[in-house]
Structure formats: C-alpha cells, structure tokens
Assembly symmetry: C2
Homo-oligomer: 486 residues x 2
Amino acid sequence: MKIPFKSLISFDKNSSVPLYIQINNAIIKNIQAGILPTQTRLPGTRQLADLLNVHRKTVIAAYDELLSQNWVETIPQKGTFVAAKLPTIQPTILTENTSKESWHNKVRERLNNNSAIYLPPHIQQKLAFNDGLPDARLAPREEWAKLYAHYVRYADPLSVGYTDPQGSIRFRTLFAKYLNETRGIQATARHIITTRGSQMGIYLAGLTILQKGDIAIIGELSYRAANLTFKQLGAELVTIPVDEEGLQVEAIEEICEHKKVKMIYVTSHHYHPTTVTLKPERRLKLLAMAEKYQFFIIEDDYDYDYHYANTPILPLASADRYGWVIYVGSFSKQITPAFRVGYVAAHESIIEEMTRLRRIIDRQNDTILEYCLADFLENGDLKRYATKAMKVYRERRDFACQLLKETLGDKIDFKIPDGGMAIWAKFSKDIPLLALSEKVAKQGLYLANGQTYKDENPMLNACRMGFASMNQKETEDAVKILKKAI
Amino acid sequence: MKIPFKSLISFDKNSSVPLYIQINNAIIKNIQAGILPTQTRLPGTRQLADLLNVHRKTVIAAYDELLSQNWVETIPQKGTFVAAKLPTIQPTILTENTSKESWHNKVRERLNNNSAIYLPPHIQQKLAFNDGLPDARLAPREEWAKLYAHYVRYADPLSVGYTDPQGSIRFRTLFAKYLNETRGIQATARHIITTRGSQMGIYLAGLTILQKGDIAIIGELSYRAANLTFKQLGAELVTIPVDEEGLQVEAIEEICEHKKVKMIYVTSHHYHPTTVTLKPERRLKLLAMAEKYQFFIIEDDYDYDYHYANTPILPLASADRYGWVIYVGSFSKQITPAFRVGYVAAHESIIEEMTRLRRIIDRQNDTILEYCLADFLENGDLKRYATKAMKVYRERRDFACQLLKETLGDKIDFKIPDGGMAIWAKFSKDIPLLALSEKVAKQGLYLANGQTYKDENPMLNACRMGFASMNQKETEDAVKILKKAI
C-alpha cells in the first residue's frame, strides 16, 4: 500500500512555528495514531522534500528531530524507519473506569472529612459585584512582562534553581524598608518571609502557632477563608461582636479571664466583610491585652494601600513591641492576584518556624516574581501604580455608591467605605439574595448569593459588592440588570 | 536659609529611568530624610528647570507625580509646598528591638515545636554535587520568557485574577493526554490538580489522607523531605527495607497483618536516595496489597523522564484500577525548579478533597505558568527539551561516573544508575563525610555532609552526588577538589 505522505503531513508556511518542527510534529502524530506503523519506511529526504515542496534541509532537520526523540531509526544503506520500539506507549482511550461508583465511595470514606470547607467558586463573568477585587486592566502588565522576561533570560542559573524558602534576600531587604516607610513597621529582612499570597500567610501563621483545640478569637462576622483555615488547623473559634469602630475588643478581656486564648484574627483596615476600620484606641487596647494574656494577633492588612479619606491608621504591627503581632499581606490588590507574591512580617522566632514549615508545604516562593517586585520597589513604580489606581478606585467607589443609592433606594442599605474595594450591602428583606443572585446570573451579572455567612447569622441578607473592577459603563450595565431583577 | 536644590537633586541623563521620575524620587528622598521639611516652598517649575538645566516640561511632570502621590500640595497664586501631612510616616531607624532576648524565648515557647524539621540549606556554590538537580543552563529559558511575557500582556483580565484552585482547565486537559501518552495513566482533567511542585503535591496528599497517629510506611532509607512532611502531619512512620530491586514489598504484608496501615510512600523510578528502580513484579504485588489492605500509595515519580538505559517502567498509577494510587510529579526537572508547576493525578474524590485544601493553603496556582506549559505540551516542545536534556545528562552521568571511579578508586563505592540525576555514593570509612564536606566547601565545592540520614542509620557514610548540573569541565574541577581533599 502506498502511503499518501503528502496529504498526511500538513503544515502552514506562515506559522511562527518553524517548518521542520511542524513536519516533525505531523509525522509523530501519524505514528501515534497508528497511521504510520512501527518499521514503516519513510521516504528519503530528497523525495519527501519534492513531495512537500520544501527545502531538503528542512526535511533533514525534521528527521534529525525524529531521530533525537527516538521516533525513528536509521538503518545504513536502507533508510529511515519508524522505530520498532516507540518512545512512548500507544495512547489509550481516555475512560472513566478509574471511578467505579462503589470504589468512589470507598475512597471517599477513607479521606479526612474536609467537606465542610465550602467557598464560593471563582467568578467567570465580566460584570461582577465581586468580593472586592482590583481591576486587572489597571495592573502594570507591560512592566511586569518586561521585567519577568528579563530575569528568566538573564538571571544567574543558581537563582532559577532551588532557592531560600524564606524568600530572596534582595527583595526582603527592600521590602523591609518599604514596610518601614509606608507602615512604620520596624522590620529587617530577617523579620520577613515571602509567601504566595495572603492566604498562604494566614495558613502558615496558623500552622505555626495553633495546636488542635486551641482557642482562636474572630469577629462576628469575619473573613470566611481565614475562619476555614483556622478550623482546618483544629482551632476552636470563639466570636466577638464587630461594630462601627471594628472589633469590640473589650469582649476579649472577658473570654481571657475564663479561657486560655491562643490568637485573634483581625483585618484592621476595612474590616472583612463589613468594611469598618479598627479605631486607634481599640488597636492599642488590643495590643495591651495581647501582652497581658499572651496571645498572638494575626493582622491581615490586605487593604492597607487603598484608603480614600484620610491617611490610613498605622497597623497594629507598627506598635508591637514584644512580637505578638503576625502581619500578613500581599500584592494581589496592588498588582493582580495572578502576580503571586505575599508576605508575613513578624518576630524572628516566628519567621524561623514559618520558614521550616514553608519548606514542607511548598518548597520556595517564585524567585523571578520577587526579583520583579524588588525592581518595582527600588524604582518607586509600586507606589506610583498604587497611587494611580487609588484615584480610579475612589472615583469608582463614588460613582457606584451614588448610582446604587439613586437606583435601588431603600431596597439596599450600605455605608460608603473609607477605603477598600467593596461595600457591605444589606438588602431589604423582601429581596432574598439567593434568588436575586440566580436571577441576575442569567443576565450575566455576578452577585454573591449571601450564603457565605449564613451559618453564623441565618437572618443575614447581605453581601459584599466590589466596585473596583468595573469601569463606569460596566457599573451602569450591572446596576441596570440589578434594577430590572428587583 | 536657602535650600541648595541643585545639589540635592541628582540625576543621570543616561539612565533608563525617565528624568522626571528621577527628579520626583530625589525630591521624595529629601522629604523623607527631613531635608525638605513639611510646608517648605519648592522653586517654581521654570526656576528649577533652569537650576537643573532640564526642560521645564520635565519639572512639571515631576511635580505632577509628587502631587498625585500627595507629597506636595499646590496653593493657588502661592506655589508648590511640601505637604503638611505627608503620605507616609517618617522613616524610623531600623532596629532590632522587636527581639529582646527574654521575649524572644517567650515567643518561642508558645510556638509549635517544629524544630525537628531540619533540611540542608539551599546550595549557593556553582560547583556542586547536589541532590540531583537539572542544569538551568539547558532550560528553554528564551521560550519561557517569550510565552510568559505574551500571556502577561494579552491574557484575558479574568484569567490574571482569581482562578480555579484546581488549575487551568486547558492545561489539565492537555496534561491528561500527556500523562496518558507518556505514562499510560488513564486520566482526564478531572483527575488532576496542579500544584506548585512535587513538595506541595506530597503535602496535599498527606493532608488529605492522614490523621494524627496513622501509620505510614516508608523505605529505609527514604526521601527526607517526604518523611518530614508525613511526620509534620502527625503520621507514625514505619520503615521497610530497600534492596537492589526497590522496596521489599513483602515486608508490608507482615505489618498489615498486625496494624492498620494508611499509606505507603514510594519513589518508583530511581528510588530516592539510593537510585534503584522498583521492579515490575514488586509494583504489581504492591498494588495488589493496597487493594487487599486498603491503603493509599503516594507515588512520587519525580525522575520518570530521565531514564538512560531502556524505556522506563510504567508507574504504579498506570495499573491502578481502584483509585489507591496518588501520583505526584513536577516540571522542576524538565524545565527548572524556578518554573513552579507540579501536579497530582488521582481518583476524583481525592482530587476534590485536595482542591478544597489547596484553596486553604495557597489560593491557586500560577495561571500564567500553566498557560506557558500548555503551549509547551501542545507544540511538543516539552518532549523535545526533555529528550535533548536527556542526552546531555546521559553523557554527564557516564563522564562523572568514570572520572570518579578512576580518580577516587576504592575510596568511593557506587552503582551507575539507570536514570535520574545523581549517584548514591558510599565513602570509605576512613573518609568521614562531615569533615570532607567542610574541607571541600572551603575550595568552593558543595558536597552533602552525610547528616541527612544519620538518625535513621548512624553508621552511614554516604550521600547523593548529583552529576547533571555540571558540565564536563566543572565536573573535572569538582573531582580535582575532591581528590585533593581525600
């Protein structure tokens, strides 16, 4: 049987993929599909070149590739043949037979029961009142692309290998200075570990200090992903109220009188989810209590950089004299969540323990991204981006808040937040969020379904509504959909 | 007092940093240092332009930047002044007073005791017989840089935000096909979760299946970082012997007769540390036992892609009918460790649990790197790089093994490994590794100090010696240093 090589090997002369690689790939595909069985003789290079109307050198290069990958073998004086023993096994049909139902359940039974960990899915709509995310369109993507490519190309071979689990020393040194200048935190490189983001920072902090059964205090309500993290680590969660000035820290004293408290979790700026800011007097009181009762404070300052009204209130960590505060943050809000660098700043002994644990849960951070970020810090770009983005977000806050008030009137109740990227919107009782969320989803708008905090407060009909990731036009469209649905 | 603006504001006209930003930065520095106190009047733009001999537009741009960052304020008809309220607090001197010794110990006492987790530091020497690392100089850095920059610039805004914690669906789909073709593993996208690397895969697998006190079987010896991971997760480790054919799986039966075993950890190809490969009969026996006694197998196939002698033996996962095998791997060896993408392929129920936990320990993977890798898979580049690197590594293995034998004679004893990137070298008793390692370190050569496995076997005087990351010249230099020291 004559093999129709010409029609089997298709390629595109205008493609950016080199011709010889296209030919190489085409031949491999045919071998894998069994169209060119093992030991089939391939045409001579000159013959195939004529057949395909390409230069002979191209075919030689393609054959060399095939040879180097062991797809073909050359027999002197005889020609080139599809290898007797193919380098990979024949593809088998993708089936689902690894998951027979009875065994599925058997496997399930033997797993730890983590099913309680429910978190909303990631958002795939362009129109979205999300949890309070930045607009990736404002991120310094061009600079990021350039710097990253530069370091991948030219960084020392050792630094693209295994590196220090605590993070790059250059980045940590520059970042300590930045923390000092922007937040009054007296840190040096030794007091910092880099993480992939705030979430890893919270997990590592919890893993370092919590034992099963330890008491951890959180606000009611509090950031869901953090609650779940502490639960996963075996902590017993005790809640205290949150009002317009943040956590009611006085309530802690009473708990401490009766029980040994191991830690408290606080988002000190723009409290998650209700967006209030912990007032200075309460901050000092909280610190004094941590010293007295010797508990740790995990301070998640995810939103420090976006404050629209006044200068921000310095974090607890800036006034921590004895190492009780573990300060967690990331660059997700200043750059974008896909730029995965976060950090923890804390007492040296804590950072040492965290570094050991970091080695276990994820060998090391992304060295190249840390290099990019070091440049951003050094040349002042990071502050510039944040400042520019802040102006945009302030305008978007004002626009969204006014439009929502005007359009929805008494159907929605919220306070204009001092900062951050979301409002805490309480909906009128006659508009159940679960139904509303489903309804607007059909029109292409994401709105939280209000279930996240239901187990803490079943009567709640509220959700966070991020305003930062949509421009005015998009916000108008989104509010239109909302209005129509209500 | 007249302020010497000309000497305070230095810049470099040849720098790649725009002039107005240099001027902006210089002024900020002076404000921060207190040299330009709050409410100082800055010169007019024309005046400063003359003083600095730059275009007036440059000064205007610099002032605009200062304004937008709130470092200065403009008072109409009066001029530009250093802001009364500076956007950041005054930098304080970096001190170490957060770590007063007594408090240092107090904090330490309150932490979980993880000090047992000892791992050797990362290597900073260019000459290194490391644990078996690839040579970053062979990595497709140019292609990686190009693809990454492309996706950072042009990827959809949603995909540089928060994404699926299980990993990109495009990548998982292509990778399932790749696992099928190269390893005979019948997986689809649903059976895969992406991780940052093998280490996170091992941790997640352990976290998913292990409860405190569960029995985990490991070889004696076994991969150190994995042992520490299971210990950290509260498992009780039970060892079985390892011989020339890998784990002596017969020993498992006896343990299972007396105790409930939860899992076994195995590096099935080029066993870590001793480089032996688990023979096919033992693989089948191990699988049969897993089904009978219902324990999980964590199969860490970190070295599958580098096998020099024959075609590799298919992983246990390829013959697993009932979902007991959790298959862990990464691209650290094929690209470089700084390219942080790994994976776990397993039964659907396991992947679901792992995804929930992944969300907790580290929000999501690096989406952009997954996109790059998807391209590498799609255009066949990954296989090409691996095949090319394999040839180089095979030559390096042969060269290093021969040179070590010739030069060190009976001072060193090792078997030439079938694959992988390291030999398991037993040193003569009269050359204690601890001293040797210190001695050669002074000459710029890294050699493991043999302490890693001491607690399992105190008499051991052996270590892994990676041969893949050095070229012939470097290996020659390294062996010269070794010889001189011995």
